[in-house]
Assembly symmetry: C2
Homo-oligomer: 319 residues x 2
């Protein structure tokens, strides 16, 4: 019998743990609160271990029945050392998370960034399950822009850390990014960037439907309003959305010119716009792909797994 795999998705709010069958079926999951600011990292890891033991018990399993434990966490990680180098949303620096977990379990383990786990999860069990060559690039369009790359079914990376696709520069000297760099993809293609641009445009044009939809209060602006206003025929909103899609198209085309994936996945809140985003984006991407139609344009589609992708991906990490 193929052995169980454990996946851990460590987030700012909760620690989620899943137990999977050898062929990747989720058999059970558990979670508890993370509270990273009230507690030491050792306490967080102890809870993680407790959840894993609980899942073993509930599934009549012992440690020896388990193939591996994969952990996904936010921040800059060193997968070779199994260390969280820096995670601003936990206030963690140089946390040897796998070393600590190995005091509880004598099992092969792997650590990866949570956005990387999400793209791997979508590749093994979600929207990119059928990708011909299992070459997949995913962009998560939320507060920031996350991303990850799977080549030949395995997470692709280089040295310590993860691929910071959101922090590649697409406008040298452009908009300030919250990371401190100017002109990052994240500063143009995140929900935060869209809200910034929509707010600027609504302030300049108070006849815009966007102004009405946020009740004349820019703090109510969100990433859906410009799309909703555009669909209602608002020209200012159309300009904001087209501009946003143009920049996102640059980031997507750059990924294509680097990796030539089979599938580009879009996750995060903005991806909920579906075809209203994806159809014009595909056109914009086409204009920026090297060697044009000779270059084989990948399919662009929505990620489908949502919050579970990270758990599936963590369990599927190579150990």
């Amino acid at each position: 019998m193929a052995k169980y795999r454990i996946g851990v998705d460590l987030g700012g709010t909760s620690i989620k743990v899943g137990i999977f069958s050898g062929n990747g079926e989720l058999l059970g999951k558990k979670n508890s609160a993370t509270d990273p600011f009230c507690r030491s990292w050792r306490e967080v890891v102890a809870d993680m271990a407790g959840l894993i033991e609980g899942l073993f018990r509930e599934n009549g399993a012992v440690e020896a029945d388990c193939h591996s434990i994969g952990v996904g966490t936010p921040g800059l990680i060193d997968s070779r050392k199994g260390t969280v180098v820096y995670a601003s949303n936990f206030n963690w620096e140089r946390v040897p998370i796998l070393e600590e977990l190995k005091r509880r379990f004598d099992l092969p383990m792997a650590l990866a960034n949570d956005a990387d786990c999400a793209v791997l999860g979508e590749t093994v069990a979600g929207a990119a399950k059928g990708a011909k060559n299992k070459n997949v690039v995913m962009f998560t369009l939320g507060t920031g822009v996350g991303g990850g790359v799977v080549l030949d079914g395995r997470l692709s990376g280089g040295g310590p850390g993860k691929m910071e696709l959101g922090h590649t520069i697409i406008v040298a000297g452009g908009e300030p990014c919250r990371c401190g760099i100017l002109g990052c993809l994240e500063a143009y293609a995140s929900a935060t960037a869209l809200i910034r641009d929509a707010s600027r445009a609504a302030e300049d044009d108070r006849d815009s439907k966007m102004w009405e939809l946020c009740g004349g209060e820019l703090s109510n602006m969100n990433g859906r309003i410009p799309f909703d206003a555009m669909r209602a025929g608002d020209k200012t909103a159309k300009r904001v959305v087209e501009n946003y899609i143009g920049y996102l198209g640059v980031g997507v085309a750059n990924a294509i010119n680097i990796w030539r994936p089979d599938i580009i996945l879009l996750g995060g809140g903005i991806a909920n716009e579906g075809d209203g985003l994806i159809l014009p984006l595909t056109e914009r991407v086409r204009a920026n792909v090297f060697a044009g139609d000779r270059g084989c344009l990948p399919i662009i589609k929505r990620a489908t797994m949502g919050n579970d992708a990270g758990l599936y991906g963590a369990a599927a990490l190579n150990v």
Copy 2:
């Protein structure tokens, strides 16, 4: 005895073939003219096969003594199919180069882009030979901007084609690139781009040393003149060079934020500026690296193998 490896470096001017010992020592090489416009691709491949047979004879070897044949060629290639999809400088489209070569040799073969072969060659035998994790990114700063990525000692890529690092966009909507896209790294960091910017600046400021160094004739401008003029104290040239290094720094930082390599290599004519380029570039890169000093800045250095890198890399391709 480890078997011989054959490397082929197919260029617009010449076909170069080398025979290597099992531990990567170059034992002999041969070349002949390519003449891709006067001849069919079959004739070019026949010459290639003839050169390989000549090297076998001269080294007292037979086909069975050989481990593999690796071929590097310019253009968009499909390494899975062993096909040159499109090479503008040969006017080749869909050329099944390995299929043709297999009619002559019953050996494992691999096809890769020549810039990819160069970075692999530098990694196995050149400037990046000692890279700790064998994670290396190379940029070739010539007429265009080439590039390649080696992770864990192997060429990294995705789907068909190569990584077009020179055709990732660093200024959305910026300078037109000869590939048709606006704002590519190549449109800012190639020798061609430097010459364009130096010519514009010299024309605007005829008191500039650059104007003098090109004899008042902008067609004499080259990539060395702005550096030479800067060293002579010319402020306009200094501005041109700093601007160039700023954009190159964006491209290099993007590669670091993606791959976190141990070493960044610079090849091509502009790399001959050595420390005059590399020291200020390192400073500019530092400002654009995600997570700053926590992110481990790689060493930036010159490629050292020149024209031979492609031959060494082709022979080292995984088959």
